[in-house]
Amino acid sequence: MTAVVNLEHVSKRYRSVTAVDDVSLRLEGGKVYGLLGRNGAGKTTLMSLLTGQEFATSGTIEVFGASPVEHADVLQRICFIRESQRYPDDFKPLHVFRAAPWFFPNWDAAYAEQLIGEFRLPIKRAIKKLSRGQLSAVGVIVGLASRAPLTFFDEPYLGLDAVARQLFYDRLLADIAEHPRTVVLSTHLIDEVSDLLEHVLVIDQGRLVVDQDAEELRGSATTVVGPVPAVDAFVGGREVLHRDGIGGLTSVTIGRLTPAERTEAITAGLELAPVSLQQLVVRLTGATEKDQELR
């Protein structure tokens, strides 16, 4: 398998903060990655390192087989519009889209045109005067229409309404099916994108805590619901990730179950429910119940 990105023991320290702490990972070509984590976990710093915008304190970074820092051939295969992207003061969206084809060899102007219409982006309004959602739409359109082999979406949905978010997910899925490429999606809204993700990376306080296939991760936990004695009997000595209860009923989240165990549970009159990716990520990162709202 071809690795598009290869990180080995990469750290980024600012004076008092370690934003990225000894991260090693490989990204394979042609997949959609979810880069998940709380605010300030180091998501944007990690993406800045991958795009040569920040300099690593230690470790090695390879993107398309070479360090991305000041490497034009690597960088022109990457698109990274950050969530807090700054634009020249006098720019309107139309200037962004006029300049984009000079920088992105795969830029599809007709597709950009279509997306501008679908997102109802006012391209002649000064960027400074766009709403947060419209500003996000500029980044989303650049990210999609640039068709860069490695595309980063840094919290692309900020301020986008539900319709626009759905539009973004639909277009992304359709476009990568037609033009396969590697996409890294950094987001808080885990459940919304969970169907898109093929691989999940969770970063917490600069450390990579989950690096797993999304399917595997989803199957790695089950919630068992039923009367307290029956559930307790079934769970036994297993590791309990989470426990909830109302009256005589309880719901317990435990690890992966084999088909035989599933049958056993159902025979015992218990209900088995899947655990959403979001709940799983929250529980795996050891957050307390109160922290569950990631935002």
Binding site: G52, F55, A72, D73, P180
Partner: protein, 260 residues
């Protein structure tokens, strides 16, 4: 993962560490993608300044019964044209700050960005000095726009003819642009601390130079040295800070990041 093998995400093309002139050109064009700020706006402001000046000359001429000799003398010290130099400085600052962040997001290397930006600034300085030179020539040919007024052919640009004047203006523009270049890259690198530190150091250097000259009583010598240089020599001296600023700006930008 057969799909990945054919995906553009796993481009098999070997990477080479080349400077692509097309990316420098892209940065160059980026500075002109919105001609409002580099061309139309300063043209409009210039036109307005000129109009106001001309109206004042007209009022003065009418009030003094058309005796324009005194006015020609007075307005030859006009600073009305100096706005464009500051404008160029601001454009250079913005280029290093805002546009730099944007171009990094579009996958530009700092090196290509710097080269493209330098080219854009030199072209802007050249373009504006030609416009300036032509307006100054018209001013002289029309006897101060018919009223003995001066705006472009002011005393600061000497009396060595239209071509020399255009050259001096060009050098002065390069000087202002390089101050903007340094100020902008200092800001990107170290924010306002870098900027304040830089101007503090420059101020101290100028003070030190002045003190040394004063204590060694060499002001007359400095004066006669500058006099011997003439306009051509003094304006050429501006190339010294320009030549220092260009590599210095790159050194600063090379390690700058796009954190906001």
């Amino acid at each position: 993962m057969n799909a990945a093998a054919t995906a553009p995400g796993s481009l098999d093309a070997p990477l080479t560490r080349s400077t692509s002139s097309s990316r420098i050109l892209a940065v160059f064009r980026l500075h002109f993608v919105n001609p409002m700020i580099v061309a139309w706006m300063p043209l409009m402001i210039y036109s307005f300044i000129f109009l106001v000046n001309w109206l004042i000359w007209l009022v003065v001429a009418l009030a003094s019964d058309g005796k324009t000799a005194g006015m020609s003398q007075g307005t030859s010290w006009s600073g009305a044209s100096l706005f464009i130099f500051v404008w160029l400085l601001v454009i250079a600052v913005q280029a290093m700050n805002r546009t730099f962040h944007f171009a990094l997001g579009f996958g530009t290397t700092r090196r290509d960005y710097y080269l493209g930006t330098l080219a854009a600034l030199v072209l802007l300085a050249a373009g504006w000095s030609v416009i300036f030179g032509i307006l100054a020539a018209i001013e002289e040919a029309t006897g101060g726009w018919g009223l003995g007024g001066h705006m472009f052919a002011a005393v600061y640009f000497g009396d060595d003819g239209a071509f020399a004047r255009t050259w001096y203006v060009f050098l002065l523009m390069l000087f202002f642009a390089s101050i903007g270049l340094i100020a902008g890259s200092l800001f990107v690198r170290w924010k306002s601390i870098g900027l304040i530190g830089f101007f503090a150091v420059i101020t101290l250097l100028i003070l030190a130079a002045g003190t040394i000259i004063a204590f060694t009583q060499s002001w007359p010598a400095v004066g006669s040295f500058l006099e011997s240089l003439g306009f051509a020599g003094i304006y050429a001296l501006l190339l010294i800070p320009v030549v220092i600023a260009v590599p210095l700006g790159y050194l600063l930008l090379r390690r700058a990041t796009a954190r906001s």
